[in-house]
Point group: C2
Chain length 342, copies 2
Amino acid sequence: MSVTIKDVARRANVSVATVSRALNGHQNVAEEVRKRVLSVADQLRYSPHHAARSLSSRRTQTIGVVLPDLYGEFFSELMRGIDHVARERGLHLLVSSYHGHPQEQGAALRAMRGRVDGLLLMSPFLEGQESLADDMPASMPVVLMGSPVAADGPASIGVDNHGGAKAMMEHLLEAGHRSIAFLSGPDDNFDARERLRGYTDALAAAGLEPWVFPGDFDEASGHRAGGALIQAPRRPDAVFAANDMMALGCMFALSQGGVRVPDDIAIAGFDDIPLSRYVHPALTTMRVEIAELGARAIRSLLEPGQETAEGSRLQELLFPELVVRQSSRPRTDTPAAPSTTS
Amino acid sequence: MSVTIKDVARRANVSVATVSRALNGHQNVAEEVRKRVLSVADQLRYSPHHAARSLSSRRTQTIGVVLPDLYGEFFSELMRGIDHVARERGLHLLVSSYHGHPQEQGAALRAMRGRVDGLLLMSPFLEGQESLADDMPASMPVVLMGSPVAADGPASIGVDNHGGAKAMMEHLLEAGHRSIAFLSGPDDNFDARERLRGYTDALAAAGLEPWVFPGDFDEASGHRAGGALIQAPRRPDAVFAANDMMALGCMFALSQGGVRVPDDIAIAGFDDIPLSRYVHPALTTMRVEIAELGARAIRSLLEPGQETAEGSRLQELLFPELVVRQSSRPRTDTPAAPSTTS
DNA sequence: CTGAAAGCGCTTACAG
DNA sequence: CTGAAAGCGCTTACAG
């Protein structure tokens, strides 16, 4: 079998307690003994057994990350931010996705008991948030990311989706657009609802009528909405999609249908995923620092005093930034001649 | 504190052994007792302590995934494939990236001891593969992904990069291109070397001269190469980049410099990341089923008999598929009139 | 500074 | 079918 602390102790002629202390950098070990233990451990290629260590020390050196999904640019960016900080602190990451099924979230959370020291959870569903507390391992520090929060709930860090959507609407209105359609996200999704609210609030302030197409955040639904727009008897001046993926899908459908962006219809998204910079025309969007969201979440989880105890329920908010690209050039542009490129 | 197996035992009026058996679905528990235990466990919201369970059972229900990085479309896709299978089997994923630093790979591997039942490792470096065995936790099943393999090394699953690059070259040659430049990947990277080898082999077979630009797989290096091409006294007919990100960067630089793709220069990449379908013009590439690579790797790790023992060292190979898009339209196309779209 | 021993929360032969 | 007990590999008061 594998080499254990006993093997090291025997070989170094000390007790396992001393080996443990030496390896963990405790001060009360004679310098000479420490060196001997370390060298023996090295020779034997000893590596402490994690489960044993965490069972007795009650610490796992691991942070659990529970997400709706692992797939796509958004989660990839989020993980990058979390991973960066985890690595700095020498922590491991146990990731678990519940694949968009809110029902499986509880199981994922419960499975974290005894595996992690703290939990990062993204739970963007509007329904079923009450039961969340029940599934949370007892007395486990937790920070919510981009999730609806109760006043007495856990610490939380999110994006100002409402303010961001309003800022985008102001940009579109300033560019002279009056008829602005919105591609909404999933009904049950918190971010989606907040963005929709920003849209309707801005329109109401301008005395204009909302015009909403249903969507579910993925490219295909944006593509469908684009197809519907092409068929529609009248067309909007601009389309604001609740996220970039839908904006891209919509833009794709429009260009396939011979509708020019931004000359015929301006398009804007939300998130600023890497793709948005590359498409043609480049997409105007609200930049969300997704990696930063993850980094801030894990840092605040690790902060001292950040226990599940009541009291200092901090709720941070990240403010997205307007990024104007070609897809929303003002209408006053010289109309383009028919393009000869495909 | 948290509720333990003892609490359940006491409340259900049985021994902890019986609770353990009931919870683990062993057959030798009276039906009535089983029901009682399960119901008590449920009432108490009991969830087994993972470290304790794995210390005594010697199983962790967790697979370790050690990657060069967590960031970007490639790893996101890979994780998706792995996660899908893991979830099917009720396994957790402990992910660890060594951030492109081969030196840190050893530490990442050693830290897996006692945390995982098996290991998925991507180690695309040509140097330092010998020491890999030393860092591997003793008698731990492991499957290598996209890594150079020794004949007596662990099981491995990879992509036929050499064959894929040759296939792409044949496509470009058939399209009538004679002067074909190559944007290479990092010198120390196994995939990059294999693709380069496919390029040079195909050229040699056609009696043509190689023309290689250095790169490191990221978009910026492709952009630099594109800039160099624009300045060059003569230009190639086509550019074959060792991966899509570089191809995209190159294409971007060319279009900024007024060089038309594919009319002036054809471009091709490798990987078929999602972005490649969206850019303008869409990128010709070799499709690698990245998620499938991950899925196959974890499945083969989980296969019975897949121990570290010698013998059945299976080495699977995935064959990439040629995807021809606009960026490599044959030269015989009607030359496009100057475009009026930006 | 060091060691013997208890204990972390489970699982699993071993008896019955 | 069930229980008492050993044991998994560590850490950490408690003595000395």
